[in-house]
Structures are given as C-alpha cells and as structure tokens.
Symmetry: C2
Subunit: 499 residues, 2 copies
C-alpha cells in the first residue's frame, strides 16, 4: 500500500499504456487528483448563493446601478438591457415564476502563499470564489460522466500499481478506490430541477393543444460541439416518470420560424418535422444559447424577445442572466451590499469566499484599480476580466499593463480587476488530445445549484419555491496554464479523491 506522500506513484510504461487505453475507451480526457479541500462549505453555501442571485435578479434598480457603466461599451449588456426594456413596454413579463441552474466556481487559496515550493501531496487552504454563472452553465454532464469513469477505473484497480485490485475496498483508505471518489449525480438532479419547473407550469393554458414540453434553446445544432453536455439532460427529462417531453431548438431564425406566441402569451412550438398543425405549448425555456454578443443581431434580438415575452418559465429570467456579469460580482463585494439581500449570517458566509475586486471605471475605487493594473509589478497579483462568459477572455498578471495600453481608457470600464487566488498545486498527470503529461496541477471546483422562485412584484422580496444543491464539477489544469476552460483545451474534467 503506497502512502499519499508518494502520489502519484511512478507508473510503468505498461501501466501508462493500459491506463491510456482504458481512458480512451471512455472517450473522454481527464486527470486524477488528490486534494484535501473543505468542499462541504462550498456545497452548503450554494443554497445561499441561489437565494442571493434570485434576489438580485428581482431587483431591477440594483442591477441597473451595477451594470450601467457597461451600457455604453458592452454590446451584450446593451442588447440584453434593450430587450428587457422592450418586454416592459410591450406589457411586461407574464410569468411570475423563474428557474435557475447556477454554478459557483471556486479555487483553493493557499494559506502559505509560497507557490514556488515543492508540490504538496495534500494541498490545504480555503475556497475562494472565481466567478458565479447564472446562464447556460455547462459541464455538468461531462463532470458526471468523468466521475463515473474514474469510479469504474478505480474499481477495476488500474490506478494502484502496488496493490492488487480489491473487491471490497473497506480497508483501502489510502487507495484510489470507488469509496474514496464522491458520486456525482449532476445529470439526474439538473433534469429533476427542470422537471420541477415543468410541473410548476401546470397544464397547457392555450386552447390549441393538450401537450406541454420543455424547450432547450441551443446554438446551431449542426455544428454544436456541446451535445455530449446538453443531450444527457434532455434524455434524463424523457426518463422521468412520467416522461417530460423535451425538444431542442436553435436560437435565431429557427426560434422565430418554429415558435409563435398566442394572444395570451403562451409560447407554442411547431416541430418542423410534423405535417400536422397541432403545436406543443412550452412550459420551460432552458437557455443553452444567447450568451455571446454576436448572437444578438436583429434576428437574435427578436428571438430572445419572443421567448422573454412568453408565459413559459425561463431558465433563467433575463435579469438573472444579466446577474452573471462580472460587474455584478464586483458590486456584491461592496460594503453593505450583501446585507441588502441576505441576513447578516448568510452575508458573512458568502463574503468569506470573496477575494478583493475593483471596478476599472473612473470612481475612486476604479482609480485605485487602474494604478494596480498599469504597474507591471503590482499587476502580477491580479487578473483583468471582461463581463464575457466562457474562457479565453481574461488577462493575467504582468500582461495586464500592455493589454490596457492597447485599449482606449474609455473602454476600461467594461472590465473588473480581481485579486488572483494563489492556489497550491499538486503533482499529477493530465490526459488530453496531445497525450499524457505529468507536472504540477491546480483545480477548480464548480458547485451547481438549482432553484425555482416566484417574483414578489413591486419591490417585494421573491419567494423561493425550490432551492437546492444540484451537484458539482471539478476541473484540473497544468500549474502554469492560466485558463481552465475545458472546451477551449486548457483544462480537464476531473474527480477529487477524498482522503
């Protein structure tokens, strides 16, 4: 039995080959990692984060104040805010219930900040929030599958070179065995969350059909690279008892062509393959598209407007979408803000996950940030983030001053400056399309939340109808890689080993 200090054990060529083949047969890339993280805190916090963002999403004035600096400069913010205004002018939102599938991302902050030492076998520290995603949160299905794969490979004993595989793993606290790998039920729980929203919608309101269904609005499906993440949730909805009929629809032209609004606001879906004229009334619109500025050309704006004006429950609401902007994340760090939305105890628990953040605008805090960001030495400890979703848009450390110099200062306000989280690294091996590489690695924990809330109206607080922890994802990247985005090739999905 090897001790944790020897992790990862030296692997023979045979072992590597065998491992590589077994993983390829699962058709997904991954790494396996030991970390000693108090993840329980982050999991327990998720329902408070759900509550916080539902409250934020219901406070139009506060959101506007948080993002108004973006409106002259950020095309996605402009598009979304315009659609929001137009819905209000056209009679307002008709559906009082909204759904949310959120993901809060954390990294481990090293309590000893010396990141140049030897990799530790068991990193310690506390979890700090990297970002909070409210819209089109990806990775849940991949995370679920990778955990299933790691658990299978663990029971098959392919990791432990110094011990024969054991059928009962009760005596194996130091080994990579299934009982040390937490289960992951993301697909099941996210589908259950959408099924709840579907049930909350109730029977069809229009007179033209007896059928309701969930509609997943996606990016053009012929070239959609995300099918392996989206489809499992769709299949799991059909697997509910009774099945929740679920259809996919491209955001854009197809949305306008294949849906219609009744006079009373029901969203009707006309499956393009049906010759019959009987449509399906949409209970829940689950957005997996519409998170990039370029999607909001004239057609995209009309498509989103139709969805927002409809009676369907949106997952999430448009204001909840806007709450995903980094400017909102920053605004929540301002003194007293959390207490505006949460009890003092809950506010304190959330605040403990924050790292220092600054606006890059012309406010006093912004002026301070600009000093930090334009100084090559001071900038080292920061990351500059636009409000854009997805990886690949951040600027790290000493690259910030040059980047800012290339942009007119009038556009700096679209960014926020955030203290980097000095994360301890562990020694491990990652497998990607280029092969298997050993080295120091750093992980990010994503915690999924699922919720359903009813608007209070007229400034009254919203009512949480459902609020639950929905699962987690775990991504790992090489120590010197800045980004962690898996779809962009920087990171790998992973499973933590509990020791």
């Amino acid at each position: 039995m090897h001790s944790i200090a020897q992790y990862p054990p030296p692997l023979s060529e045979d072992h590597l080959l065998s491992l590589s083949i077994q993983i390829q047969d699962w058709l997904l890339n991954h790494g396996s990692l030991i970390k000693d993280i108090n993840t329980q805190t982050a999991l327990e916090l998720q329902s408070i984060y759900n509550e916080l963002y539902c409250a934020v999403a219901e406070d139009e004035q506060w959101i506007l104040s948080a993002i108004e600096d973006l409106l002259p400069i950020d095309p996605l913010a402009v598009a979304l805010w315009k659609i929001h205004q137009e819905v209000k002018q056209l009679g307002g939102y008709v559906q009082p219930i909204s759904a949310g599938i959120f993901r809060s991302d954390y990294m481990l902050q090293d309590e000893n900040t010396d990141t140049n030492g030897e990799p530790s076998s068991i990193p310690h520290g506390s979890l700090k929030q990297v970002e909070f995603n409210t819209f089109s949160c990806a990775g849940a299905s991949h995370a679920n599958k990778i955990v299933d794969m790691h658990r299978h490979l663990a029971r098959a004993g392919v990791y432990n070179a110094n011990s024969t595989p054991s059928e009962d793993d009760t005596d194996s606290s130091q080994l990579i065995v299934p009982s040390n790998l937490p289960r992951n039920r993301n697909i099941e729980t996210l589908a259950a969350g959408l099924a709840s929203a579907h049930a909350a919608y109730g029977p069809p309101k229009s007179k033209v059909t007896s059928k309701t269904a969930v509609l997943i609005v996606i990016q053009d499906q012929v070239f959609n690279f995300n099918v392996a993440d989206e489809r499992p949730i769709e299949y799991a909805l059909w697997d509910q008892d009774p099945p929740v009929p679920t259809y996919r629809l491209n955001f854009g032209d197809d949305t306008l062509e294949d849906t219609s609004l009744t006079a009373t606001g029901e969203l009707l879906f006309h499956p393009p393959w049906l010759n019959s004229t009987t449509p399906i009334e949409i209970s829940v619109v689950y957005m997996r598209a519409g998170y990039e500025a370029h999607e909001y050309d004239k057609v995209g704006i009309r498509a989103r407007l139709r969805l927002e004006r409809s009676r369907a429950i949106k997952c999430p609401s448009l204001l909840a979408h806007i709450a995903t902007f980094k400017k909102v994340q920053y605004a929540l760090t301002r003194p007293g803000t959390l207490e505006h939305f949460l009890t003092p105890e809950k506010a304190a628990a959330v605040r403990a996950t924050f790292v220092p953040m600054y606006p890059m605008d012309e406010s006093p805090a912004g002026q301070e940030a600009r000093k930090l960001a334009t100084d090559p030495v001071l900038a080292e400890d920061y990351v500059l983030k636009p409000s854009l979703e997805g990886g690949g848009h951040n600027v790290y450390g000493d690259a910030i001053p040059d980047f800012l110099a290339s942009q007119p200062p009038s556009k700096w306000g679209a960014y926020i400056l955030m203290k980097r989280i000095p994360s301890p690294f562990a020694a491990n091996m990652l497998m990607s399309s280029v092969g298997m590489n050993s080295g120091g690695v750093i992980s990010e924990l994503g915690v999924f939340g699922s919720c359903l809330w009813r608007t209070g109206g007229d400034g009254r607080p919203c009512e949480m109808l459902e609020n639950s922890l929905a699962g987690w994802s775990f991504k790992t990247k090489h120590q010197y890689t800045e980004e962690i985005s898996v779809v962009k090739g920087y990171g790998c999905f992973d499973t933590p080993l509990l020791v």
Copy 2:
C-alpha cells in the same frame, strides 16, 4: 395517423435533417424497419440450438468426420485441430465445464418467391438459418444500444410526421412508439451468462491468490475497433452485485507474457501494471480473438494452447469453436444427423430452419454441388461459403463459377454451397457514414444464446447446467447488397417494429 401501407411516409427536408442530427447525436448508424416475422419461433428454438451445439462440441469423433476434409486445406482448421491434439497429449482438458455465447442468424424466406415485385410494407414468410456462430459472437452490445436509441427517438416522436408525439402510446398501434419496439437486454444477459460461469468456477484453486476474475481475450487493443461492442459486457460484469472483476488481455505475445499456468493447471493473470507479485486466478476465459488463421503463428498457437490447457472455464471450448465451421453446419443437414444429438421433436424443429446445403468435396453430394456451382444459370440461386468467420468471404450467385475457375479444384472442399434465401424486401431508409438512402431493404435476425455445460466424458452425453435465450440483434442492408456485415460497412444495426 398514417397507415402501414404508406410506410415509410414521405419525409420533409426539415424532418430528415432533424432525424439525422438526432441519430448522429447517438453516434451510431441505423435504419428503422417494419417486418412481420414470426420471431418467436426462432427465439424458442435457441435453447434447442444451444443444446445441439453443446452436444456437438462434446462429440470429438463426429466433429472430426465433419471437418476432416478441411484439414489438408484450411489453415484455421489445421491450427485448431493441432492445438486440440496437443492438449490431449499434454494430459487433456482439466476443466469439465464449458460456457457458450452463441448466435444463430436467420433470414426471412419469402413464401412467394417473386422478389422483383413492389416492396411489400409487411413482409411475410418463415425464418431460415443463415449460419450458426459459436465463437466470439459480435454485435450484441451494438444491437442493444441501437434498440435503446430507436426507443428514445420513438418516444421523442421524431418518426411520426403526421401525428404529434404522444406521451401515452396506448392508442398508437400503427405508430412507431416505444411499445411497438421490443426491448433488448443483450448486454445485461450476456454479462449474466459470464457471471454464472464465474460463479460455477468457484473460489481460487491455487494457493497463491485469493482473487478470481474473468479474462476477455481480445485482438490487439490499441487498434481494436470493437471496443464499443466488447466493453459494455466488461462494464456490466463489474456492475454485477457483487462485482465480477474482469480484465482484458491481447491474444498473442501479451497472453504468454502476462499469464502463467500453475502445476495443477490454474491460469494466473499477472496484470502488467501491478508492481506486486500477487496474480489473479482466471475463472473464465471469454474469447473475442483467435478466429482468424493469421492469428495462429507460433506465438498464437502457444497462447491458445496455454488457455486451453488451463483450469479456467473457456467460453467457448475449443471443440465448440470448431463447431462454428460451415462444414459442421452442412454436416448437421445430412439425414439422421440431428437425431443423433436431439430428440426427434427437437430435431424436426431445428430442421425446419434449414435450407439445402452441399459439400464441395468429391463425394456424390459434392459432385452434385460442383455441377450447380459451375453452371452460371444454376449457380444464381446459391452462395458459396468458406469456413471463415465474419463477412466478406462469401461468393454469391453468378460470380461463383468464375471464382471457382480461379481456384484449384483441390481447394474447393474448403467451401460449402448453400441455397440462397430469397428474402422479401421492405421499403425503408438506411443511414451510414455516406448519408441516408432510401430503397428496398432486407434484414437478418440474430438470436443469442447463453449456456453452460459439463462434459459427460467417455462418450456420455453432456449435462446442460444453464441454457437460455440471451437476446437478439437485427441487421438491415440494402436489397442489392450481398453482404450484411456491419463492421465491414455493408449493413446497419436496426430494430424491428412489431405490428
């Protein structure tokens, strides 16, 4: 609601695109087909066929008489028979129990032999056996997955252009809905069959280990294209309660390197990735390699010899392997032969699935066959089959005379001549890597059997310990394609629609 006579209904471009995307997302090619086949008979027959082939596999003298003409000319027959002789010289087989995963293939024989008419929407006829496979039977997992896919697409309502999808399909006897698509549990049942064999082996007999496991012997796994068919059975064995540990091993060099025989015949597996010296005792050797002559070079012969000499239960035994030769299939058609192995009632039921077969040797029956096979007009109704496994080796109809002319008559004895099964065709659409094509299609039903038997010894009949129907596969090809092999690109896995 469309009537069956209109099948397949005209599909709009939108419908085709949608269907194509949904199928691609299941990552497998398929076709969907209506057939009215009395499959029940074939399913019920399987346990009789299992019994027949177990009895055949225990009758060494009969097998030798069936294949002895092959020994001078067929390298695979020579290799296998030599290994059998060597096992006997070295002390004989030490394991009295054998396992079988068999597959009997059938086509529908049109009772009206006019195959040039219009495609019928519901073909009629009786099932005739194409061949019986005793070794390394493939396709069970693919068939299972394709049925799962068709059932999902059916419940999502993507097939029925003239009716909205229905959540309850009780009123939909004419529609493609899940209740009209039979379930397929191949993966589960084949794994259960191997798990039974594992249990029959019992605890380890050697003193060197406390662990037993199933060993799947495969073709070189780096380039193995069959992982999607083999791996699900392996995963399902691990999913048994308690798990049945299961490992894969390449046939050939790796077999010799990573296994050893104890003095008392136990087969020990030494996982190449383990540093420890504790091996695993193999309970069951499940062969998914060793079915091609080129695998029996010196190393291959030594590898197979080691497996056969071991105490592990072989799935199947070497003589059961030899029973897969077409010469055996022919020999069983000779008058009185079935009655040698089965009761008269069972023999009659089996014989009803036979079509006329001939040897191509110099016997009187062989002389008759040679006349048929060398006449371009008469040959039209026949197919010439070597004893080789897998598609791509048969010669059809008027191509037979030219083919035979290219071979020395001394080699003709390696073939058998079989009456072609005039199969009615249905109109349908098949999807493959080249796209979707409509046209007349013909299907083949494979029936899987799983069994476990104990040798009687000294000519006594064997004892059937388990004997069950294990599942089915359904393959469909275009009407004018001769071969149906899916891996070679001729056919598609499919699901029958019950009407």
